[in-house]
């Protein structure tokens, strides 16, 4: 796979998204548990370090039996150095008493945060090094990191605290996600950016980000306390009018004869006694984590429900489009909800038995990259007005496409041949052929980005 500078930039943007999220989480833990003892930014260096180490290991194409031990060794060295730098910087590097000091205090709050956060950071960096960023991946990353970031913000709000450097984190997250999705979308030859001005998308992107920032500044300049007071006064005036109207309508109702029965006064003493009894039964040290757990559960369930509704709406739209065109339209696999639901089901299956919580069959299937590319190819041609009729075989479809896109005959032939080999012959392509297939697919999109069906 050719690693051009665009792929490198995509890695940076995903790092921005994940880094902002991880920083937020770590900063909250650092403040609440470790009493701000740790320099979170220094700890975050483990993330790019893990990425670099695993990228090198991945390029060397080492066998798993060598790759995994090397990885664990690198992580161990990194976590020890991080602990040394964060907590025991006053001891010389060649004085190995710092090592025994760290291990002796291993169960300390700051030490535990370093240990567990290093696992999360290393795992995230390793994962990033092993994937290729395309539009679907960028969207998936955005969805997942945004959810974690939102949960973190809700949690800090509940704890009456705030995320350190919250505004900077949100800006970094927003810019990174915007760049990631725009770049990956343009790279696949789709979207208005690629169609509008090939080769100038960077300028367009920077201009659009600048416009958004300027707009944000203008809005923040306008939203002064005086302006907000005017808005609140206007809302109060409108509310008064509404209440006057309601009161007038109620006055038109006939009044019952006799004295009106007064409503019973609230028994505040009994309420206070009940609340006091609850406080005595469940101490604050238990109520606080229960409150946090409930908050996380409720927020997560709310996000999952919202995501499920939007996914079903999108699926319905896709089905309608597919029915109309009688062609293949592939669904965008964000997979956030499926992953989340599958994760919860697996946890419950571990706790209560797999029979009741078996993951659904609709969990994301393991599709070979060659087949994924062909799916993307079908979606790409469908969007350009050449959907594959359901009764056409891949070779018949190829013959039809040859007339429409004669310039890419050899490339289309190669893509189709590789798909047929794996789909019907169960013969997956070699690594070299797979790389060639990816490159060919990229080339087809690039050379034919403006091709559309003539009316």
């Amino acid at each position: 796979m050719r690693h051009d500078w665009r792929q490198g930039l995509l890695y940076l943007t995903v790092m921005g998204m994940e880094g902002a999220t991880l920083y937020a989480v770590l900063a909250v833990f650092n403040r609440q548990i470790a009493e701000d003892r740790l320099a979170v930014l220094g700890l975050m260096l483990l993330y790019p370090l893990a990425f670099a180490v695993n990228k090198i290991l991945h390029w060397w194409k080492l066998r798993p039996l060598i790759n995994y031990p090397l990885n664990i060794l690198a992580w161990s060295a990194a976590v020890l150095l991080a602990a040394k730098a964060q907590l025991l910087g006053y001891i010389g590097i060649f004085d190995n008493t710092w090592l025994s000091a760290y291990l002796a205090n291993f169960w300390g709050k700051a030490e535990l945060i370093i240990f567990f956060s290093s696992i999360a950071l290393w795992f995230t960096g390793r994962r990033l090094a092993r994937i290729s960023i395309d539009f679907a991946t960028a969207v998936g990353e955005f969805q997942f990191t945004m959810a974690i970031l939102l949960l973190t913000l809700f949690t800090t709000s509940q704890l009456h605290t705030e995320v350190p450097d919250g505004i900077a984190l949100i800006i970094i997250f927003a810019v990174s996600s915007l760049v990631a999705m725009s770049l990956s979308h343009a790279r696949e030859g789709r979207g208005w950016l690629s169609g509008l001005s090939q080769g100038h998308w960077v300028t367009l992107l920077i201009v659009s980000i600048g416009l958004i920032l300027v707009l944000g500044l203008l809005v923040s300049a306008m939203l002064t306390p005086d302006f907000l007071q005017v808005v609140i006064n206007a809302l109060k005036w409108a509310w008064d009018k509404i209440m006057m109207a309601i009161t007038y309508l109620l006055s038109l109702l006939p009044t019952p004869e006799g004295e009106p029965v007064p409503l019973p006064a609230p028994d505040t003493a009994a309420d206070n006694a009940t609340q006091q009894a609850i406080r005595e039964l469940i101490p604050e040290s238990i109520r606080e984590p229960l409150r946090i757990a409930w908050l996380i559960l409720a927020s997560g369930a709310m996000l999952a429900a919202l995501w499920r509704i939007s996914t079903q709406l999108a699926d319905w739209l896709r089905r309608r489009l597919a029915d109309r065109s009688r062609g293949e339209i592939e669904s965008l696999n964000g997979a956030f909800f499926a992953d989340l639901l599958d994760f919860f089901k697996r946890v419950l299956a571990k706790l209560f038995g797999g029979r009741w919580f078996a993951p659904r069959q609709s969990a994301p299937e393991n599709i070979h990259p060659a087949r994924q590319i062909y799916r993307q190819f079908l979606k790409w041609t469908a969007k350009r007005g050449f959907p594959r009729p359901t009764f056409q075989t891949p070779y018949e479809y190829l013959a039809a496409l040859r007339e429409l896109i004669p310039a890419s005959d050899a490339e289309l032939n190669f893509i189709t041949q590789q798909y047929v080999n794996i789909r019907y012959g169960m013969a997956p392509p070699s690594e070299a052929d797979l790389d060639r297939l990816r490159e060919t697919w990229r080339q087809v999109q690039k050379e034919n980005s403006k091709i559309t069906k003539q009316a």
Partner: protein, 324 residues
């Protein structure tokens, strides 16, 4: 590795046969390929075409190329079943009943103008075509292997003919038409047959034993589950089509399945693709389908209906799994 070599062996054998038959039959590569498919499936072939098109020549060229025994039976209205299967006669010298084999006892049997014989005589082929044996009096005699019946029929002169029953038609794996040659091909025919008959000098390129081995290997060609389901879907669609009185049988499904395997092997693949199935759908299924009278009156033939079905049944390609 052994399987790959054998598949390439089939492709090589198919090329040799095609070239050899092509010395006699000019052009018609597609038809020759269908003949090879029938050979590799040990299926029977039904050739329906106008006179003088080369039907008999094709059958003879095929048998000469195989180095197998060949017998021709000219079906006439007075042909009896015993003329085909053979008889037991009393030998005066040995004072015993002896079996005299009929022309059915050959590797390749050409049943020329099969529709001219009576239904009784036509039905004597039923057992031999399906079970590769004949029953004469009380004895059941196995036919030689490989065994293939190539039947021809003239579609124009129908007076005094007896159309083949559905049960008999269903036993033919493929029905092919040669069609008129192009002008260039016809000119080539004149050149080739100018001095002598190329059929006389045709030699065999594959032995019977080799053919049996190739037939065995053909059965090992991989058919992915969705392709198998596609075969079934096509056959079942012939049963539910509104213009069809009687659709294709499970024998037809099996025939289409095995024919697709043979075609894939001829193309040098060890797996079947939907194109193989589509290519063979009309030759394998059309002659087994009986259309309704009103459908025929509208000018729609069984071939049209099967072609229409192949143009509507979804092919198993990426993303189809989600449609279930």
């Amino acid at each position: 590795m052994e399987k790959t070599l054998n598949i390439s062996g089939i492709a090589a054998a198919a090329d040799r046969l095609t070239d050899n038959i092509g010395k006699v039959i000019v052009g018609k590569q597609d038809t020759i390929k269908l003949v090879l498919v029938a050979l590799l499936c040990e299926g029977h072939l039904f050739i329906e075409d106008v006179p003088g098109i080369g039907k008999t020549m094709l059958a003879k060229a095929t048998s000469h190329s195989l180095g197998c025994s060949f017998k021709r039976i000219q079906f006439t209205p007075d042909l009896l079943p015993s003329d085909v299967t053979g008889i037991y006669y009393f030998n005066q010298k040995s004072q015993e009943f002896e079996y005299r084999a009929g022309p059915i006892m050959a590797n390749i049997v050409l049943a020329d103008e099969i529709n001219r014989a009576t239904p009784r005589t036509q039905s004597c082929l039923l057992e031999s075509m399906q079970e590769r044996q004949v029953t004469v009096d009380v004895a059941t005699i196995a036919l030689p292997r490989p065994f293939m019946v190539i039947a021809t029929q003239n579609p124009v002169e129908l007076e005094g003919t007896f159309p083949l029953p559905e049960a008999q038609l269903d036993r033919f794996l493929l029905k092919v038409k040669l069609g008129y040659p192009s002008a260039a091909d016809e000119s080539e025919i004149l050149l080739r047959f100018q001095q002598d008959n190329p059929l006389d000098t045709l030699t065999s390129v594959i032995s019977a034993a080799e053919l049996l081995e190739l037939q065995r290997v053909c059965r090992q060609v991989r058919v992915e589950e969705s392709v198998r389901n596609y075969v079934v879907a096509l056959t079942q669609a012939t049963r539910s089509h509104p213009g069809v009185k009687l659709g294709a049988s499970p024998r037809a499904s099996l025939g289409l399945y095995q024919a697709a395997q043979a075609l894939a092997a001829i193309e040098g693949r060890d797996y079947v693709i939907p194109d193989d199935v589509k290519h063979l759908a009309v030759p394998v299924l059309a002659h087994r389908v009986i259309v309704k009278a009103e459908t025929g009156l509208r000018g729609q033939s069984a071939e049209n209906i099967v072609a229409e079905i192949t143009g509507s049944v979804p092919v198993p390609v990426e993303g189809m799994e989600k449609r279930k």
